[in-house]
């Protein structure tokens, strides 16, 4: 999309380029998530054992399938950056929109910081393996964030094309690991019959493992942030999102199958890089190199997608005056939300420098979870206010309202699981968002021009 012509009635406008296709959407969603297959998911094994982790993998897979379907339908009608924030603005109201926008920015910025930390830690591990102990990860953390911010600043097409290439490599690395484990000959390399045990902590352990099952899929909902820059959003967003969740369901199942067939649950539950460890156990040096590069690429792709999504959520809030309008600027040459990208750099670096990977990730997961809870209410209200015959959708999700209700039920279960392991974090995060909401109502809402923010060509909602 280009700058529109100037007339007295139609002042000159600048907007983002519509240059993306479904593959970019897939790369954005899967790219953010896939690092969770390389590390993190395995903490669910520590809570619930191998079978508990498999139940978490599929139960949380169901949660995210509901997220993907609901997101696809709503986003196919809201061709705007901001994703769930924009949906909340149009469907629920300003306070919900402010909170959802904040969830998105916090979730993605925290995840970006965690990804950069992983890259830094991997560099330190390589240095240690070559005999140089104590290499500081900080310069590589900053380089990761700076380079990816620069890439995002320069344009969305190249950013997500790079993401497509490295995400595809990381996904193929998981496939290569599966093939390399000789799955057609059980007992040869994979020893499930020896390693799989009963549930070590019973069903409460399975419930506790749900929180870490989120790592398999956290971030797939980020696809809808591309809505304003994708050609034919009504078709591309559903294609990329549903393709993405299918990819992740396959990757998660393969990851579980290979890792639990090679490592006892007691080791797997605390491993830092379980897939790299799996390649090491198989003993194929080429596979080890592929898995190491895959881990690095997955972390970089995730950070890259997070910068893209956090910046667009922040930009959208600025454009609607939920934040200062200064953040709602678009670069006249690169057509990116350049001020939002710059603003979030020091925040991501600060989080990364704390080094508190588990706390940062927990904050990110909980922010995401709050967003999913909103989506179930959002979907119910969307169908009620704008039934199927009122707004043309690019995609209609089946069995409404079952997915929305299932999503709400599963979110409640994950809140309980999080409370079991991270109760203090859960309560402090809730307190943070309540304080932020009070600030918005008392100080910021006066600047929001309510009429100006509704620019979608939708009919008046039913009942209004």
């Amino acid at each position: 999309m280009t700058t529109e012509t100037t007339t007295a009635e139609n002042p000159q406008r600048i907007s983002m380029f519509k240059v993306l296709n479904p593959f970019h959407v897939w790369a954005l969603g899967v790219g953010i998530v896939l690092v969770g297959e390389f590390m993190g998911w395995n903490f669910s094994v520590a809570k619930g054992g191998a079978y508990g982790a498999l139940i978490a993998c599929w139960v949380i897979g169901l949660l995210y399938s509901c997220v993907a379907m609901i997101d696809s339908e709503v986003t196919s009608t809201v061709a705007a950056a901001g994703g769930q924030y924009t949906q909340a603005k149009h469907i629920i109201g300003p306070l919900m929109a402010f909170n959802v926008g904040l969830y998105l920015v916090m979730a993605y910025t925290m995840l970006e910081a965690a990804d950069a930390l992983i890259v830094g830690d991997l560099m330190s591990a390589v240095a240690a393996a070559t005999g140089y102990e104590g290499l500081s990860p900080q310069p590589f953390v900053v380089l990761t964030i700076a380079f990816l911010a620069w890439l995002n600043y320069r344009g969305v097409f190249m950013t997500l094309t790079v993401n497509f290439v490295i995400t595809l490599f990381a996904f193929l690395a998981i496939i290569a690991l599966f093939v390399g484990s000789d799955p057609l000959n059980p007992g040869n390399i994979l020893r499930h019959s020896d390693l799989l045990t009963e549930l070590p902590y019973g069903w409460i352990g399975v419930v506790a493992s749900l929180q870490f099952g989120m790592w398999y899929y956290l971030g797939i909902e980020g696809t809808c942030q591309a809505a304003e820059e994708v050609r034919s959003a009504g078709r591309s967003i559903p294609l990329g999102t549903i393709g993405g969740i299918l990819t992740l369901l396959v990757a998660a199942s393969l990851t579980w199958y290979v890792a639990t067939g090679l490592m006892p649950w007691q080791y797997l539950g605390q491993a830092t890089t379980p897939l790299y460890d799996a390649a090491s156990i198989i003993g194929n040096p080429s596979l080890q190199v592929v898995l190491f590069i895959g881990t690095m690429f997955a972390a970089i792709a995730s950070a890259n997608g997070c910068i893209n999504d956090a910046a667009r959520a922040w930009f959208s809030m600025g454009r609607d005056r939920y934040m200062p309008t200064w953040f709602g600027a678009i670069h006249p040459h690169y057509r990116t939300p350049f001020r939002a990208i710059i603003f979030l750099i020091p925040i991501a670096v600060s989080f990364a420098f704390t080094g508190l990977l588990d706390q940062v990730i927990t904050f990110s997961i909980l922010s995401g979870l709050l967003g999913y809870t909103f989506m179930s209410f959002n979907m119910m209200k969307f169908r009620k206010m704008w039934p199927l015959d009122v707004i043309k959708r690019g995609y209609i999700h089946p069995f409404h309202p079952i997915p929305a209700l299932v999503l709400l039920g599963l979110c409640s279960a994950v809140y309980f699981a999080t409370f079991l392991g991270y109760g203090a974090s859960l309560l402090s995060i809730m307190a943070f968002y309540i304080v932020a909401s009070v600030w918005f109502v008392m100080r910021r809402y006066q600047f929001v021009k309510r009429g100006d923010q509704f620019t979608m060509p939708w009919p008046r909602p039913r009942g209004y």
Partner: protein
């Protein structure tokens, strides 16, 4: 090992250069272009959905 020391310094320097470039460009753009233009974007609607609406005669 000197290689890792050099790599660490290189990472700091490249990061600094990238961030400086971004900042310099942002300042230059903000000076060169009118603020009203920079913040003039609006949410758009989808071209394909518009096309479907036209084909089906939905206003």
């Amino acid at each position: 090992m000197i290689f890792w020391d050099i790599l660490s310094y290189a990472a700091w320097i490249i990061s600094g250069l990238l961030l400086l470039w971004i900042l310099a460009d942002a300042i230059s753009v903000s000076r060169e272009f009118d603020e009203e233009l920079l913040i003039s974007s609006r949410e758009g609607d989808d071209d394909v959905l518009e096309q479907i609406k036209k084909e089906e005669g939905i206003k």
